[in-house]
């Protein structure tokens, strides 16, 4: 039998738990913080075993209702020029320098934009070509995992950490060419972090996100350039 006093104590326990959660989240380091409300469009979708996590077309929750406001159109050249054009009233912190694209036209022909879907999965050989062509690489894994090793030059956008939306917004505000190919990756296998990051990028208008499905483990297996630490 459950009495009123029992219910009261259960409610008190739940309230205390909420308070504890709020305090611990407030006090947590940035890589351990969590936004109270996340955005996971596929949270209730179960993929059949063996099927790719990314649908061919964007699911309804991801279909952009209006064309995104195009950020000042500057090609992915040096950071000095991209920060000078269309800089906001309060300039954001200087992003890591984006190396000049060595083969922009060639990459654009080989990897055209796909505005009807958030991302396309690409083969490792294509990843290498994009890397040599100085395309932008984004690492979707946790920042602690990124620091242990990542593709050299890749930037960290940890999709499960609380500031991911701010980071995606920051990337948008850099004024990058939203039709230029961007490669996102995570841990390979069943990891969906790269897909989740691709969806966030798609929602702010990046039309050419390519997913390196086999991720960093495959990159390491191929003995390709990698770095450690918090910087690209």
């Amino acid at each position: 039998m459950v009495r009123a006093s029992n219910v009261g104590r259960v409610v008190a326990l739940l309230v205390l738990a909420g308070a504890g959660a709020a305090i611990s989240n407030f006090a947590a380091s940035s890589d351990r913080k969590l936004a109270w409300v996340g955005s996971y469009p596929r949270a209730l979708q179960v993929e059949p075993a063996g099927s790719p996590a990314m649908a061919e077309a964007a699911p309804p929750a991801l279909q952009r209702k209006q064309p995104p406001v195009q950020a000042p159109a500057t090609p992915a050249t040096s950071s000095a020029s991209s920060s000078a054009v269309g800089s906001p009233a309060t300039p954001p912190a200087a992003p890591p320098a984006v190396p000049p694209a060595a083969d922009t036209a060639g990459l654009a022909r080989a990897f055209p934009p796909h505005p009807d879907k958030p991302a396309v999965e690409i083969a490792p050989a294509d990843v290498e070509r994009l890397y040599r062509g100085k395309a932008l690489f984004l690492d979707a894994r946790r920042s602690s995992v990124y620091a242990e090793g990542h593709i050299a030059g890749a930037r960290s956008l940890p999709v499960w950490e609380s500031d991911i939306d701010a980071r995606v917004k920051g990337l948008y505000e850099e004024g990058l060419d939203q039709k230029a190919p961007i490669v996102v990756y995570c841990s390979g296998g069943t990891c969906e972090d790269s897909h989740m990051l691709a969806e966030k990028l798609y929602m702010v208008g990046f039309d050419n996100v390519l997913i390196y499905k086999d991720g960093f483990p495959d990159w390491q297996k191929r003995a390709l350039p990698s770095s450690k630490g918090a910087n690209p």
Binding site: A21, S24, G38
Partner: protein, 154 residues
Amino acid sequence: MTRPWLSIRVQIALGAVFVAAAIPKILDPPAFAHMIYNYRLVPGGLVNALALVMPWIELLAGLALVLGVWRREAALVAGALLVVFLGAIGWNLLRGHGIDCGCFDVRSAGKSRDEQLADMRWVLLRDVGLLVLAGQVLAATSPRAAISSRLSRG
């Protein structure tokens, strides 16, 4: 079934399990949110809030059991959580969706789908056992048990 020597051991053991389960989740909420997301049962907008609050519910219920404070209420909460866990794992087993439990470790175990499904069956058995323990504490703290205890002492 409700003898004091048994009840106190059961409540401490159950409480210790819940405290041990809660700590890694409290220390790494993003990883636990990822675990909850993988269950594909929680609407996207609720994943993070659940990842933040549920471990604290586990912790406080566990501590209450270990310390012998609000035992009946703590056992009620622990039992309710176990029923939820059993439902979540059971439903995913039924639909063949392999997941890492995330019960005591929020890191991905890197197992195959078949390994995950096998682990989930063991987790179900374990949680049924823990539910029995919670039931024992509830029985031992029921008003009838309290009356019976007073009568036997008097």
